[in-house]
């Protein structure tokens, strides 16, 4: 049929099918800002304005829009100019990955057009249909309020950094917190932090403009002529043998170009986790197997001319299964007689596959029994942490094609392009040199894209058909077939002496790695490392069994084993303090690690190549300051106010405050490697090429700031390109909280070499001593105030004399992993008649060393806390008895939306970490660690009920209250 739409003011006639959604038709018409988040409309990534109203183009037919006005962000985006709303989104730091930013900006426009003076509640309601997994909504909400104020001509809230006086050793009055704007980044300055010009400043993100304008920037925006659409047939059974596959009907369907399955794809063993060479064992996967091990496992893949044909072909594949008994619980899976999940002879690297035991990890720093023997009291506690999904709003998507050199080019939303290139080569029987992986902007990753998940499918299909092939997972497929957080049963046993000091601590775990061991070793190593590093203790012991089961596959998810560890540890420590009748913070303070304390268990639970004779030590810690700042921000004294805890006018409500400390790592020492290369252009600007993969976190910006600081230019004179295995230096990728610290150091080193080369020429041109020259504001300066611009230097070196390209490449691996520390606070209300928990406030004060960019760092904390809130409060993957996920859809799988958020506050406590670039440590993952235990401890403060398992859904809390 033909429809007529007025799109951004222009009447257009478009042909479409009656079933085409408005999203499909708008994207086909070149409006790439209308993005896919789900077919059923919940994510709002495809929201557009229809006659001025914000609607989800996922669940509107193009035919319904016939005759109407459609507005997309492209209509606001004039080259070289920004709309005030776009400007406000950039200035407030509201853009992370930017995948849903166009939808949010349109929502703001519709709201402000109707109501120039909206309240915060109005804004939150306007954003209620656009799910955001990254920002915690704080900055987007304030961006809209700011834009409205600017458009009215009013003074908007301040976005300048608010410097807070330190509270440790501060006899005087602390700085006033009244009147602090909610989005002013809070920084507590460190005493020994050197002055910088670009680093430490709230510079706008280098990719913000293109994201605010909705320019094509993501994998799905790549349009190659003749692209086939891939669809995958997933297993309906949790455990089954494929007796036969008949693909003849599917192949006979016109428009079907290839059907692949175990019968026609070579069997090559691999591990799908995107990790350094050699990938950790086990190698228990193949592209297509003759056995399926979870509901959602791959059976076959189809490439066809259209999505409809591909789906029809999937339906035509006849598979006969021999259904096998399945096991889902990690403790049952390792018992004698449990169904054996990997019985194939060619699987490599499980400790005891016949008992579903993948790994058995052990570490200790002595004999814990000796420590328990001298303890005054010994406490033991078992807790269970459940399975959740990272749910980036952009699902997994990849496109592969042959280029003119007959090299395979795969564009993919991946965190690990270099690992994918190396890992995929043997599967395709192609040498690495014939493969190129390009990572465009990513619409959120959070670890779930630290995996070779869909790339081999499109690559096999391109090889089979010779055509470009695209595969984009649906939301349901993303839930069921991608990767999740490992569930664990965790037992802590702790000895405490009469003064409250730990004498021994033992952590026993049975972890559930699902049917494949991807990340199964290293996630659990991090659990042990984080669980047994936060507190000083003379002897520690770790024992962890990692079990195969038939649940959808756990893998990497932001936090990587630490949220599990810290939940259990901080619940356990809280309960010990309670049993000892000690203040919960005092008890932790007696035991927590501080500067100079050993990280002894790290020597045995490290993944990288470390010098065993050197004991890693804590080199910087701002934990004490963080605790004091957080206590002040959350008004901790309310814990002692009965009138606050039990409000007289709401008899069923009890209020409470909870605390958890968190300590994380910064990169994998001796293993994570980052590379950067920097070269000057004619006008004194620079290209910075990095292999690092910015997931929306702002790491490209941070790397640009680091380079800009060193060569003395503004950040927008650094053009960042990342990442492309043909163009950029190697980088392990975005994981393990490593980009700022590792890739940042690589960028700093490359910039330092470039700086030397610039100064050398400047010294000649200025006839000055090189050692006396400084670079800033785009000029090389002598002490007596003479200068030459970098443009002049560039022109001189490129065109005029002694011609050469000023450029350098550097890389970095760190011998250490300095821990960031955080103090997490939560305020809750519990309805004791219903069990409903409402989280009113989350405050996290974090020592991340020197924050290179306080706005992006604050955004990491705010958004991270909200993901962690979901972990502790409402998110869970739920299955029927056959292992089929019951809630593979947003809504039933509940993530927070803009109009139901607790108040959020991030406080950045500076310390100077000597090993990091300009003093930086990591920040991206630590916000995931403390929220669940802080909520749990707040529930205990409110009601006296101490709950073992997350999440704190109403019935679980109600049951606990009934038993109390």
């Amino acid at each position: 049929m033909t429809i007529t739409l007025t799109i951004n003011g222009t009447r257009r006639s478009l042909t479409c099918e009656p079933f085409d959604s408005l999203r499909t038709v708008l994207r086909r018409a070149g409006l790439h800002s209308v993005r896919f988040g789900s077919e059923t409309g919940e994510t709002g990534a495809a929201a557009v304005l229809l006659d001025g109203r914000l609607i989800s183009a996922d669940v509107m037919l193009a035919a319904q829009a016939d005759g109407h006005d459609v507005e997309t962000i492209e209509g606001l985006s004039v080259p070289g100019r920004l709309h005030p709303i776009q400007q406000a989104f950039i200035e407030t730091g509201a853009i992370q990955s930017g995948y849903s930013t166009p939808a949010m900006i349109l929502s703001a426009k519709a709201l402000i057009d109707r109501n120039p003076n909206p309240s915060e509640d109005d804004v939150r309601d306007a954003l209620s249909g656009i799910l955001d997994r990254e920002t915690g909504y704080l900055r987007p909400v304030h961006a809209v309020l700011r834009a409205a104020a600017v458009m009215r001509g009013d003074e908007p809230d301040s976005i300048d950094i608010a410097y807070l006086d330190p509270l440790v050793d501060n006899g005087g009055a602390p700085s006033d917190r009244d009147g602090l704007s909610e989005i002013a980044p809070r920084v507590v300055p460190g005493s020994d932090v050197p002055e910088t010009r670009i680093v430490g400043k709230p510079v706008a993100k280098v990719d913000a403009i293109k994201l605010a304008k909705g320019n094509p920037a993501f994998t799905d925006d790549v349009d190659l002529t003749g692209t086939l659409i891939a669809k995958v047939l997933y297993s309906p059974h949790a455990h089954a043998r494929i007796v036969s596959i008949d693909d003849s009907k599917a192949r006979a369907l016109p428009g079907v170009r290839a059907v692949l399955h175990h019968g026609n794809v070579p069997r090559v063993r691999y591990a799908s986790g995107g990790q350094s060479y050699p990938n950790p064992l086990p190698y228990d996967q193949v592209s297509f197997d003759d056995k399926v091990r979870f509901v959602g496992d791959r059976v076959a893949a189809v490439a066809a001319d259209t999505e409809e044909i591909a789906l029809a072909a999937i339906d035509l594949i006849d598979v006969t299964y021999e259904v096998l008994p399945a096991v889902f619980d990690e403790n049952e899976a390792i018992l004698d007689g449990a169904p054996v999940i990997h019985d194939e002879p060619d699987m490599e690297g499980a400790v005891d596959a016949s008992h579903n035991l993948v790994h058995h990890l052990k570490a200790d720093t002595g004999n814990v029994e000796d420590g328990f023997a001298v303890a005054d009291r010994v406490f033991e506690q078992t807790l269970r942490v459940h399975q959740v999904h990272a749910t980036p709003i952009e699902t997994h998507v990849a496109i592969s094609a042959w280029d003119s050199d007959e090299r395979l080019v795969i564009t993919s939303s991946t965190q690990v392009p270099f690992h994918v290139r190396r890992m995929i080569a043997p599967l395709l029987d192609l040498p690495v040199k014939r493969i190129r992986i390009i990572k465009p902007r990513i619409g959120g990753g959070f670890g779930v894209k630290q995996e070779m998940l869909v790339e081999d499918i499109v690559a096999h299909l391109t090889i089979a058909t010779g055509r470009p092939v695209r595969l984009e997972l649906t939301r349901e497929e993303e839930f069921m077939s991608s990767r999740t957080r490992h569930p664990q049963t965790v037992t802590f046993k702790t000895g405490v002496d009469a003064d409250g000091k730990l004498t021994a601590q033992e952590m026993r775990i049975v972890a559930n790695t699902g049917p494949y061991g991807t990340h199964g070793l290293t996630v659990q190593m991090v659990t042990g490392l984080r669980g047994l590093s936060s507190y000083n203790c003379p002897v520690k012991k770790f024992d962890c069994k990692v079990a195969y089961t038939n649940i959808p596959v756990p893998g990497a998810y932001r936090g990587y084993g630490a949220p599990q560890a810290l939940y259990a540890l901080e619940a356990h420590m809280e309960d010990i303090a309670f049993a000892l009748d000690m203040d919960p913070i005092e008890f932790r303070r007696l035991n927590w690690t501080d500067v100079g304390d050993p990280l002894d268990i790290a020597q045995q639970l490290g993944e990288g190549d470390q010098d065993a004779s050197v004991m890693p030590l804590v080199t910087s810690s701002g934990l004490e300051e963080a605790v004091l700042q957080g206590q002040r921000a959350v008004d901790w004294d309310r814990r002692d106010d009965p009138a606050w805890k039990q409000p007289a006018d709401r008899p069923s409500i009890r209020r409470g405050l909870g605390f958890a400390m968190a300590m994380h790592g910064t990169a994998i020492p001796g293993l994570d490697m980052g590379g950067a290369s920097l070269k000057i252009n004619d006008d004194g600007s620079f290209n910075l090429l990095v292999g690092a993969t910015d997931l929306g976190t702002g790491s490209d910006t941070v790397l640009a700031q680091i380079a800009a600081e060193v060569v003395g230019v503004a950040t927008d004179d650094i053009i960042v390109y990342a990442s492309d295995t043909d163009m950029t230096p190697f980088d392990t990728g975005a994981y393990a909280s490593s980009t700022t610290y590792i890739s940042g150091m690589a960028a700093k080193r490359a910039a330092e070499q470039v700086r030397e080369q610039i100064i050398e020429r400047a010294a000649e041109m200025l006839e000055a001593d090189a050692a006396s020259i400084d670079l800033y504001e785009g000029q090389a300066w002598t002490p007596d105030g003479r200068s030459v611009s970098l443009e002049t230097i560039a022109l001189s070196t490129l065109h005029q004399a002694g011609q050469h390209q000023i450029m350098a490449t550097a890389s970095y691996v760190s011998p250490e992993s300095p821990p960031p520390y955080a103090a997490q606070f939560a305020e809750v209300e519990v309805d004791v008649e219903t069990g409903q928990v409402t989280v009113n406030q989350l405050v996290m004060a974090v020592d991340c060393g020197v924050p290179i960019n306080p706005v992006t760092a604050s955004g990491q904390v705010e958004g991270g806390m909200v993901q962690a809130l979901g972990y502790g409060h409402c998110e869970e993957m739920v299955y029927d008895e056959d292992g089929r996920m019951l809630n593979p859809q947003f809504g039933p799988y509940k993530i927070y939306r803009a109009d139901e958020m607790p108040r959020l506050e991030a406080i950045l406590v500076q310390t100077m970490e000597a090993s990091g670039p300009f003093g930086a440590k990591a920040i991206a993952e630590i916000p995931k660690d403390g929220v669940a235990p802080a909520i749990r401890n707040a529930i205990a403060d409110a009601t006296g009920v101490r709950i073992a398992n997350i999440p704190f859904t109403p019935e679980r809390v109600w049951n606990a209250l009934q038993q109390a």
Binding site: M1, A47, L54, L61, S128, G129, T834, L886, D899, P954
Partner: protein
Amino acid sequence: MITQYHRPLTLDEAIALTARPDAVIIAGGTSVNADPGRTPITAVDLQALDLAGIDTDGESIRIGATTRLQDLVDSTLVPATLRDLARREAPNTIRNAATIGGAIGIVDPESELLAGLLAFEATVTLARAGSTTEHAVDEILDDPALLNGAIMTSVSIPSNGVAAADRTGRTPMDRPIVMAVAHRDHDGTVRMAMTGVSTRPVIVERDQIATLDPPSDFRGSSGYRKSLALVLANRVLATVTGGEPT
């Protein structure tokens, strides 16, 4: 799968199209398009029929069937409790397309708005070839087949009385595990409706709660839902009868 699309210009034309066995009415389309199924269907889009709008004669409020949920939220004629239930029905992006007729048509087992319409004793007008009939919302929920071959044209609710709603969910805007809404009309008659205690929103009397047998799911077992029902019923009844909240 939608294989044909029609946008009738008159009610009669729409009614005629609706008689086709493969016809599916589309109002906002947010529910039909989210899950159109795999069998071929003909969409009959009501947008050109001019059925939207809210008006009152002082005694009752008439809401056109294709009135968008957002227009209910924004209307000063509609009682505050119902406006809030309409807001809770779906996020902004959906409310700007979804209609009250659609909300009734899908008979969502957990719809707070439907529970509200039950408590308010809303009636629905159905148009068929040559006839118009009035039905209580309860009747339609009991027998959704009443909608076959018919087009809902409007929904009426009384404009007076007091109402209150309360709920328990995982988060403040989550679909409730159980919710209760009560309405007391001008002569003191109180009606209460609930979600989460049956396979659809239902009218519940305070004394019936002990005999309920709610369906279980992962968010709430049957027994838990029953105890929630009692707590929430006591709260909303206390509010509408002016007694002390419990």
